[in-house]
């Protein structure tokens, strides 16, 4: 019988790598209604199935790859899929959201999601070919870099069109911030690659030949047309097609909010050489898009000769930030090489680059010496040193073995002033979106379930002047409503890069319309907002059950104690007192316990999360 709501396949696939059991089970209608799909629904499944305090790298952890009702439909920018598990990097629930084609392909194969449990004795890969599912030997793929492994799989399976998620060497060795390559995009953050590696799972390959059913195709078509029109005329989105995400590098620098030199400042003198414009002129050879996306933000770049010879899908803004201004490197070709090396080893670009800049600061402060770096002059601005360190991290060799642990763990081991140089929250290094001048962004980063993620909070409303950035008034509420549009999009497959269409202050009417036309529901704005609030609380419950409290909602020393030293945002800082005040405001708006920072019994009952009361209240 067809599923109650449109856009769903009505079926989950469960694969147990320990006993090689494979089963298909119906998707719960009540969970689809209450949590939609993607990250929200995966959070519900993982809360139910993953016991508290388990080892994230043990067989008890589960990977849930969850699609959403919009995946595989003609709604634009609905390519995203959630890869979720308990994170070895943050110790809590983690949703790593990736674009590309894998999510829609899983649906075309007939599933809303895949639950992977247990652990294989020897390397394996999963081959999903519509209704046929196999766990196959992957010993010949172990040790291969992700793209080579994908080529081998395509040849072996004899199908150029399959879509594949693969880990690299770092994932195989369970490096804490190992990532997963998924076609032209990646599930980059939170060490999801390490979880795959801990299960001896090298890859997941999928071929689907079915389709997605919606209740009224004409309605979906009309909504898709309208959204495409909005996308094609919005200047903020248009720049993405032209220059990719690095379109804003020069504007950020002009505004004094381009994080530089491990966040010691937010103005980069070498900015002119690493802009989207320079990238377009020097290395971009084409544009690439995820499934059904009219934005084409992904660039295809080639450095054809010289020491930085490389071919990448990118570079994205986070590469330019991390390997550019943060390490004070002003060479766009070197950035392409750095990006390629991260893909080769399968390591997250943000954590890798921030860990290297942390090490550069330690070196310049005399905490590391040439003996530690094996003769490398690990100073800011040293391009070759940066590239060598990526290789060392990828191989976990020499100082790279320490840096592969990330800044939180590495600074705990090294001690001294290095703790002050670690720009992280809950273990996750910060992305390139400033928050010292933006209080809502600051409290959003601090309270984010994934630590420092620009996909749990966005500084945009404060950054473009939609609200007064200086006031603290109402910033808890603003942060919470930004959380809501982000988590809802992460549950509906909508890409955050179309931010002006889906947000940016709160869930937009377009999101509500897209959900209703695809699922055939007639939900009002408040009902949809309530779903997002439920999803956010569900994730907070997971963290609370693991022992997280308001004490874990922190910002790095650098943001609370060191004002931006120059430029138009000079003097901006979020003091510890300000942060605590913002947290009070945020918890109060959410109806959470101000003391613990966790949901109250009343709030959980109101949201239908009664089952979590015994765990967190």
């Amino acid at each position: 019988m067809a599923f109650k709501y449109g856009g769903y396949m009505g079926q989950m696939l469960r694969i147990n790598l320990t006993d090689k059991g494979i089963s298909k089970e119906p998707l719960r209608e009540d969970w689809a209604r209450d949590f939609v799909g993607g990250a929200g629904l995966a959070a519900r499944i993982i809360y139910e199935e993953v016991k508290p305090k388990i080892d994230p790298l043990g067989p008890e952890n589960k990977i849930v790859i969850m699609t959403a009702p919009l995946n595989g439909t003609m709604i634009p920018a609905a390519s995203r899929t959630a890869l979720c598990a308990k994170s070895p990097y943050t110790g809590s629930f983690f949703h790593s959201i990736f674009g590309g084609f894998l999510g829609p392909e899983i649906k075309f194969a007939g599933y809303d999601g895949v639950i992977i449990e247990g652990s294989a004795d020897t390397p394996v890969y999963i081959w999903i070919d519509d209704g046929s599912v196999q766990i196959r030997d992957a010993s010949h793929l172990w040790g291969k870099e992700p793209f080579e492994a994908q080529d081998i799989l395509r040849e072996e399976i004899g199908d150029e069109e399959i879509h594949i998620a693969t880990i690299g060497q770092a994932g195989e060795e369970k490096a804490p911030y190992a990532m997963i390559l998924c076609d032209i995009r990646a599930a980059g953050r939170g060490g999801m690659g390490a979880v795959m590696g801990s299960k001896n799972l090298k890859a997941i390959a999928v071929r689907g030949t079915g389709g997605v059913t919606v209740p009224n195709i004409l309605k979906v078509y009309n909504t898709a047309q309208r959204l495409n029109q909005l996308i094609s005329t919005n200047p903020a989105v248009k720049g993405l097609s032209e220059y990719g995400t690095p379109r804003m590098v020069n504007a950020l620098n002009e505004g004094g909010i381009l994080p530089t030199r491990n966040w010691q400042t937010e103005v980069f003198v070498g900015m002119k050489e690493i802009t989207g414009e320079v990238m377009k002129e020097k290395v971009v050879k084409g544009h690439r898009a995820c499934f059904g996306c009219s934005i084409n933000c992904t660039k295809y770049s080639v450095v054809s000769s010289g020491p930085y010879k490389s071919v990448i899908n990118g570079a994205d803004f986070e590469t330019i930030y991390g390997f550019g201004s943060i390490c004070e490197i002003d060479n766009i070709e070197a950035m392409c090489k750095a990006d390629e090396l991260c893909d080769y080893y399968g390591i997250d670009i943000i954590s890798t680059s921030l860990t290297i800049s942390w090490a550069m600061e330690c070196y310049e402060a005399g905490i590391f010496t040439k003996k530690d770096t094996e003769g490398i002059e690990l100073k800011f601005g040293n391009t070759d040193a940066m590239l060598l360190m990526i290789e060392k991290i990828g191989k976990q060799e020499g100082l790279g073995a320490l840096l592969a642990k990330g800044t939180r763990e590495a600074s705990r081991i090294v001690g001294k002033d290095s703790i002050r140089f670690a720009v992280q929250n809950k273990g996750m290094e910060f992305p390139g979106h400033s928050c010292r001048p933006f209080p809502a962004a600051a409290v959003g980063y601090a309270t984010g379930p994934r630590g420092a993620s620009h996909h749990d909070i966005r500084p945009t409303p404060e950054k473009i002047g939609l609200v007064d950035r200086l006031t603290l008034e109402g910033k808890g509420a603003l942060a919470a409503e930004i959380n809501h549009w982000l988590i809802l999009c992460d549950s509906m497959a909508l890409c955050h890069l179309a931010e002006p269409i889906w947000g940016p202050m709160k869930i937009s009417d377009s999101v509500v319309e897209a959900l209703n036309v695809v699922t055939g529901q007639e939900l009002g704005y408040e009902e949809v907002r309530k779903i997002a609030e439920r999803q956010w609380n569900m994730i907070r419950c997971f963290s609370a059950r693991e022992g997280f409290t308001r004490d874990d909602d922190q910002l790095p020393h650098r943001f609370t104690e060191e004002p931006i030293p120059e430029g138009p945002m000079k003097g901006s800082v979020i003091s510890k007192e300000t942060l605590e005040r913002l947290k009070d405001d945020y918890y109060a708006y959410r109806g959470w316990d101000i003391k613990t920072g966790n949901p109250t019994e009343e709030k959980l009952i109101e949201l239908g999360l009664d089952f979590a009361v015994k765990d967190v209240c």
């Binding site: 200047p235 989105v237 248009k238 004094g256 473009i464 002006p500 138009p568």
Partner: protein, 95 residues
């Protein structure tokens, strides 16, 4: 009359064809007056990047006026003077 220099980026720069321009602003010598002068000079390609064609409202973005950061949504009446340096920091969402 105020002669000011204006720096632009990304799609705005593409619309006006230069990263930095010098322009005369009069009646009134304000940020809003600057935008009027720019529409006069660069026409529709510039206008459609700054104003929402459906609502007629100005897009929200930050403006750097010398060393001060101001907002398009509330600071159109802000005075500008001869020699001022202005940057249109638009748009900086996404990424």
């Amino acid at each position: 009359m105020a002669r000011v220099s204006v720096k632009t980026f990304s799609v705005i720069r593409d619309a006006i064809g230069a990263g930095v321009i010098e322009i005369d602003v009069e009646n009134p010598e304000t940020v809003g007056g600057l935008f009027d002068a720019m529409v006069q000079k660069y026409g529709k390609p510039f206008k459609e990047k700054i104003w929402d064609p459906d609502t007629g409202e100005i897009s929200p973005f930050l403006i750097r006026l010398n060393d001060e950061i101001i907002r398009s949504t509330v600071d159109l009446d802000k005075k500008i003077s001869d020699g001022d340096k202005i940057s249109l920091i638009i748009p900086v969402g996404g990424g």
